[in-house]
C-alpha cells in the first residue's frame, strides 16, 4: 500500500483510520515526506501524538537482555511456547484484526489461556450484556437522532476527544440539523470532569452508589414511590426530573464508562443500567452503549467470539474453548501464579498490573511483542519489535459500536508486522511439536 521509502516529495494519505481509541476516526490525513510522517490533520491530540511519535522509543530484538536477530527471537519464543504447560497469551488490543486472529490460532495450537486488555476494563460490561442483553445502536444513530445523551461514569472530553463532535454532542445529522441545540446533554459522575463543561446538567453522585441509583430509577419508572429523600446523595426530586427527561425524549442514549465497571458492584452496576434503559423502551426509544477504550479492543472481542464463542478469558487447555472470568481472566491467572509462560502482545502488562501479578510474570519465561519499549519489554525474556498496526502495518480494526474499518499502512517499518511474527511463531511451534520435541503433557495434567 505505501510506496517505498526514499521518495522525496510530500505524499498525503487520506481517509486514514486512527489506531488510538475506540472512536476510530477514519478521516485523518497523514502527510508523509521521505517515508516519515510530517503532519497529521483532523486527529485529536491523542491521535496526532500516536502518529507523530511512532518512531520514538522503539523496541529492539533481544533475548534475555542481549541483542539478537528477529529470527533468533522468533525461534526462542516458539521454544518457550511449545514447552509451556499452561501458557498465557495476553494484550492484543492495540493491534489489528489479522494479528488478533493469529493469536487465537496460536492459543488453540498450544492449549493456552487467551485474554485481552478488555479483561481489566470493560469485561464487566460484556458480562452484564451476557446477563440481560442491551438496547443499543451504532454511533450514527446517535448523530442522526439522539435528543438526549447521558454520559455516566465516563469522560469523553479527555478519553474519547472526538466522540462529542463526530457522533454525540455537537454532531449534526438527519433529525438533528442544529447539532447541540437539538439535544440535551447530561453528565452523571462522582466528580466534575472536563466532560461536565459540555453538559447542560450535571448530577454528582456518591462514589459506589450507581447500582442503588439505577435500581431506584427503575423502581420509579415502574410507578413505585420511594421512601427515601435522597439516593446516591442526590434528592429524589432531582432523579424524578431526570427520569421525566428520559421518558419524554424522542431518542435517548446512556453512554457509560469505567466509572461503573471498575467501581463497587462492577458488572451488576451495568446490569442495573441496562435493565433501566431496556425498560425505558416502554415509553420511548432508549439505548445504551459502553465507551470502549483503547485501540482495537472491540476487534479482539469480536474475533475471539467468532472463533471460540466467548469474548474474553478463554482457556484452550482441554483442546476446546472454555470461558470462566475469575478463573481464566488474566488477573486471576497471574494472581494465583498459575501460568508457566506468557506472551504479551501490544500491551504493557508489567506497567499496568499490580505488583503481585507483575511479580509472577517476571518469574516465568515471558515474550513481549511490541513496537515500543515498555516496562514489559524491559523485563521480558524475549523481545520482538514489530511494525505498529495502523501506522506501519495495515489491517482492520473495530469501532466501539462494532463497526469494522480498514487501517492503512502509511509508512514502512524495518520490523515485521504482529501478524507476520505470529505466523512465524505458529509455523515454528508446529515444527517443534511435530518433531516430538517439547510437546505438552496431555490436557488435564497440565496444571500440576
Amino acid at each position: 500500500m505505501a510506496e517505498s521509502v526514499g521518495v522525496k516529495e510530500l505524499r498525503v494519505v487520506e481517509g486514514v483510520t486512527c489506531p488510538f481509541c475506540g472512536v476510530l476516526c477514519d478521516d485523518l490525513e497523514v502527510h508523509v515526506v521521505d517515508g516519515k510522517i510530517k503532519d497529521v490533520k483532523n486527529a485529536c491530540v491523542l491521535g496526532k501524538d500516536t502518529f507523530m511519535h511512532h518512531l520514538e522509543g522503539w523496541a529492539t530484538p533481544r533475548i534475555k537482555g542481549k541483542p539478537a536477530t528477529i529470527d533468533e527471537c522468533i525461534d526462542a519464543a516458539a521454544e518457550i511456547l511449545a514447552k509451556a504447560k499452561y501458557p498465557l497469551i495476553y494484550g492484543l488490543d492495540s493491534t489489528e484484526l489479522n494479528a488478533q486472529r493469529k493469536s487465537i490460532e496460536l492459543a488453540d495450537l498450544i492449549g493456552a489461556n487467551i485474554d485481552h486488555t478488555s479483561s481489566v476494563c470493560h469485561a464487566p460490561s460484556l458480562q452484564a450484556v451476557q446477563t440481560v442483553g442491551i438496547s443499543s445502536c451504532t454511533v450514527g444513530e446517535v448523530k442522526n437522532r439522539a435528543d438526549l445523551i447521558i454520559f455516566w461514569g465516563c469522560n469523553p472530553a479527555e478519553a474519547h476527544p472526538r466522540h462529542p463532535s463526530r457522533y454525540s454532542v455537537t454532531a449534526k445529522g438527519l433529525f438533528t440539523p442544529k447539532g447541540k441545540k437539538d439535544r440535551m446533554i447530561i453528565n452523571v459522575d462522582v466528580r466534575p470532569t472536563p466532560t461536565t463543561r459540555m453538559a447542560d446538567a450535571f448530577i454528582q453522585i456518591k462514589p459506589n452508589s450507581d447500582y442503588e441509583v439505577f435500581s431506584a430509577l427503575r423502581a420509579m419508572l415502574k410507578g413505585h414511590e420511594l421512601d427515601q429523600a435522597e439516593v446516591g446523595g442526590v434528592a429524589i426530586d432531582e432523579w424524578k426530573t431526570l427520569l421525566e427527561k428520559m421518558k419524554t425524549s424522542k431518542f435517548g442514549i446512556l453512554y457509560w464508562g469505567m466509572g461503573l465497571t471498575m467501581s463497587r458492584g462492577k458488572y451488576l452496576n451495568v446490569v442495573a443500567l441496562l435493565m433501566l434503559t431496556q425498560d425505558l423502551n416502554r415509553f420511548t426509544k432508549f439505548l445504551a452503549a459502553p465507551m470502549r477504550g483503547h485501540g482495537n479492543v472491540v476487534g479482539m472481542a469480536q474475533v475471539l467470539t467468532w472463533q471460540t464463542g466467548y469474548p474474553f478469558a478463554v482457556n484452550m487447555s482441554r483442546g476446546y474453548p472454555r470461558f470462566n472470568p475469575g478463573e481464566y481472566s488474566v488477573a486471576d491467572l497471574l494472581a494465583h501464579g498459575e501460568v508457566d509462560a506468557a506472551m504479551i502482545l501490544a500491551a504493557d502488562a508489567i506497567g499496568n498490573f499490580p505488583a503481585k501479578m507483575a511479580e509472577h510474570l517476571q518469574s516465568i519465561p515471558m515474550i513481549a511483542i511490541d513496537p515500543k519499549e515498555s516496562e514489559t519489554t524491559k523485563v521480558a525474556t524475549v523481545v520482538i519489535p514489530t511494525a505498529q498496526a495502523g501506522i506501519a502495518a495495515g489491517g482492520m480494526a473495530y469501532r466501539m459500536d462494532h463497526i469494522p474499518l480498514v487501517m492503512k499502512k502509511v509508512v514502512d517499518s524495518p520490523y515485521p508486522s504482529d501478524r507476520e511474527v505470529l505466523e512465524r511463531i505458529i509455523a515454528k511451534v508446529v515444527a517443534i511439536k511435530s518433531a516430538g520435541n517439547g510437546g505438552r503433557v496431555p490436557a488435564g495434567k497440565a496444571r500440576g
Partner: protein, 547 residues
C-alpha cells in the same frame, strides 16, 4: 488441484435437475468439476449400496455476521454443552444454536451441505461478515444485503427516483461483494428507530412518507431489471404475529409479475385475532403458492428445544422479548437497518410452539411443487441447522410424524390439517428441496446438480430406512472434487469460496453522493467499499439479462 481426477461408481444417483432418479450411474470428476468421463482416475470411490446426491445448498441461514456474533457473545450458556476439540488440521470450537465459525463449517459438511447463504447483513457490517465467512471452512458462502429499510433507498423513493434506487443497489452489491437483495420488514424497521412498527403494507414510514408496498415494488423491480440471479429475498412484514397470513398473501399478490423468495414462510402463516386464537393458515398460504409460480419459499421449520432468534426485525424482537421475558439484545444500525436477538426455547407442549411446528410441516406437505419450497429452519431462529435430518425424517416418514403428533400439544391434532396429510417425500424430492431447488432459485448454475460442468460438490449417504440417521451421517463428502469427509470423518478443512454477484454497469453514483453519504454516516465514503483483494477465495457470479 490441476489434473486431479476421481470417479464414483456403483452409487444410486439422485440428480433431479438432470432427471436422474435413483439410477446407478458413474460420476467422473476432473479438476474439481464433473466431466463426461475420466480415463485413469487417481481414486475410485465404490458407492455400491450408497446414495449419491449433489452437495446440499442452504438458501437461508444465519451463520456469520455482526448480529450472529453478537448472539454468540451474549450466549455463553449456549456453548458450554456443545464443544468441538481441535485435531490436526482442524480448529476447536463451540456452540449449539450459534456455533463458532470453524465449527459451523465442519457441522454443515458433516451433514453433506457444501453451499450456504448468510441471509441478513447490514451494509456497514458486511466487512465483518466477509471476515467471518473466511473463517467458515469447506463450504462455499454468499451473503444477502439488507436494503428494505435503507434510508438512502427511502429517500430516493420519496423523491420518486427509481433509477437512482437501481444505481444505488448496484453500487451496494458491487462495493460490498454481496449476492442478493434482502428485505426485512420493509418500512417497519425504519419505524423501529423511533420505537414503532408498520401495521400493514400501506402504512407510511415516518419522515420518508413511503409505504412498505412501495418499497417492495421498487426493490423487486430493481432486482429484475438488474437481472440478478436470485429474486428479492423477503422477510415480510408482521413476522410472528397472529393473523399475519393476510399480510403475507397481500405481499405475494403485490409482487405478481416479478420473482419473489418468501423467507421462513412458517413464521408468516398465522391466523387468529390474538395469541389465544392463534391458528394455522398454512392451507391458505400454500394454496396461493400452488397457483402462483412467481414465488419460491423456504420454510423456517421449528425444531423443539433451544433456539436463538436473530433478525433485523427490531420491533418483532422487542415483542418477543416482552412475550418470552428472555434477555434482549438490540443493535440499530445507522442509515440501514436494525437488529434484535432473543434466546428462545420451543416446547412440544406449548400450544403456539406446537402449532408453529405443525404449520411448517403443513407448508412442506401442501405446497405441491418441490422446486419452489426449500428446507430451512431459518437457523438459528426456528432451531439449529443440525436438525435438518430430523425434519427430513418427518417429511419422508408419516408414521414418525404421527408419533410426534401424539407427543406435542393436542391442538395440533384438532386445529391443523397435519393429521390428514399422508404425503411422504421421496428421496428425489428431498434432493430437490435440499439442493437442486435452492441452487436453481439462487441462479447458481454449477451447484445443486451432477451434470457435466457442475462443481464437484457431492455427498454420498448410506442407505438407511431411518432417514434421520441416513442424512445425519454421510459416508463421503466431496468439495470441488476433493474428498473432505471420508467414512464419516472430516479429513480436509480447505477453505471454500465466497460467491458474489457482479451487477451490470448502470453507472456510477453522482459526485454529490459522497457528501450525502458522509452527512448521515459516520465513516468516510472511501472507507465503505470492500477491496476484492480482501476476499482471497472468491467466485464472481455474473448477473443475467434484465427481466
Amino acid at each position: 488441484m490441476i489434473g486431479h481426477s476421481l470417479k464414483i461408481v456403483g452409487g444410486e444417483v439422485y440428480d433431479p435437475a438432470n432427471g436422474i432418479n435413483g439410477a446407478v450411474k458413474e460420476i467422473c470428476i476432473e479438476d474439481g468439476k464433473i466431466v463426461d468421463s475420466c480415463k485413469s482416475p487417481a481414486e475410485v470411490i465404490d458407492a455400491t449400496n450408497l446414495v449419491v446426491m449433489p452437495g446440499g445448498v442452504d438458501i437461508h441461514t444465519h451463520i456469520g455476521s455482526p448480529a450472529v456474533n453478537a448472539a454468540r457473545g451474549f450466549r455463553p450458556e449456549d456453548h458450554r454443552h456443545a464443544v468441538f476439540a481441535k485435531k490436526p488440521g482442524f480448529r476447536s470450537g463451540v456452540g449449539f444454536t450459534v456455533p463458532s465459525t470453524f465449527a459451523t463449517g465442519y457441522l454443515y459438511t458433516r451433514m453433506g451441505y457444501t453451499t450456504v447463504m448468510e441471509a441478513a447483513n447490514a451494509p456497514i457490517g458486511v466487512r465483518h461478515t466477509h471476515e467471518e465467512l473466511m473463517d467458515i471452512p469447506i463450504v462455499d458462502k454468499g451473503l444477502y444485503i439488507l436494503m428494505g429499510n435503507n434510508e438512502i433507498v427511502l429517500k430516493y423513493l420519496k423523491a420518486g427516483e427509481l433509477e437512482k434506487v437501481k444505481r444505488y443497489v448496484a453500487w451496494l452489491l458491487r462495493s460490498l461483494k454481496g449476492y442478493g437483495i434482502k428485505l426485512v420488514n420493509p418500512g417497519g424497521v425504519e419505524q423501529w428507530k423511533y420505537g414503532k412498527d408498520v401495521e400493514g403494507l400501506d402504512d407510511k414510514v415516518y419522515y420518508f412518507d413511503v409505504t412498505p408496498r412501495q418499497i417492495l415494488k421498487a426493490l423487486a423491480w430493481v432486482n429484475e431489471s438488474l437481472g440478478l440471479p436470485h429474486p428479492i429475498h423477503l422477510h415480510a412484514n408482521r413476522l410472528g404475529i397472529p393473523n399475519n397470513y393476510l399480510t403475507t398473501l397481500e405481499t405475494m399478490r403485490t409482487l405478481e409479475g416479478s420473482r419473489l423468495h418468501m423467507a421462513h414462510l412458517q413464521f408468516h402463516s398465522y391466523g387468529g385475532e390474538n395469541w389465544g386464537g392463534f391458528c394455522s393458515k398454512a392451507a391458505e398460504v400454500a394454496e396461493y403458492i400452488n397457483a402462483h409460480p412467481h414465488v419460491t419459499t423456504d420454510i423456517g421449520q421449528v425444531v423443539f428445544g433451544d433456539a436463538t432468534t436473530i433478525t433485523a426485525d427490531g420491533p418483532w424482537q422487542y415483542r418477543l422479548y416482552k412475550l418470552s421475558k428472555n434477555k434482549w439484545y438490540n443493535a440499530d444500525v445507522e442509515v440501514e437497518t436494525g437488529c434484535g436477538i432473543v434466546p428462545y426455547t420451543y416446547r412440544e407442549k406449548h400450544y403456539v410452539n406446537a402449532i408453529q411446528w405443525a404449520i411448517g410441516l403443513e407448508l412442506f406437505l401442501l405446497i405441491r411443487d418441490p422446486w419452489r419450497v426449500f428446507l430451512s429452519t431459518d437457523h438459528p431462529n426456528g432451531g439449529p441447522f443440525i436438525f435438518y435430518p430430523w425434519i427430513i425424517k418427518l417429511l419422508m416418514d408419516k408414521e414418525f410424524r404421527a408419533e410426534m403428533m401424539k407427543r406435542v400439544h393436542k391442538r395440533v391434532l384438532s386445529d391443523t390439517t397435519l393429521p390428514n396429510l399422508d404425503r411422504e417425500y421421496t428421496l428425489s424430492e428431498i434432493a430437490i428441496i435440499t439442493r437442486a431447488g435452492p441452487a436453481r432459485a439462487l441462479g447458481l448454475e454449477r451447484k445443486g446438480h451432477l451434470g457435466v460442468g457442475a462443481d464437484a460438490d457431492i455427498t454420498i449417504y448410506p442407505k438407511d430406512s431411518d432417514r434421520e440417521r441416513m442424512f445425519e451421517h454421510p459416508v463421503y463428502v466431496l468439495k470441488d472434487g476433493e474428498i473432505v469427509l471420508r467414512e464419516g470423518e472430516l479429513v480436509d478443512s480447505r477453505l471454500g469460496k465466497t460467491l458474489f454477484v457482479v451487477p451490470p454497469d448502470v453507472g456510477e453514483m453522482e459526485p454529490e453522493f459522497k457528501a450525502e453519504f458522509e452527512n448521515f454516516y459516520t465513516i468516510e465514503y472511501e472507507n465503505f467499499a470492500i477491496d476484492i483483494q480482501d476476499i482471497p477465495n472468491r467466485e464472481a457470479i455474473p448477473a443475467g439479462a434484465a427481466r
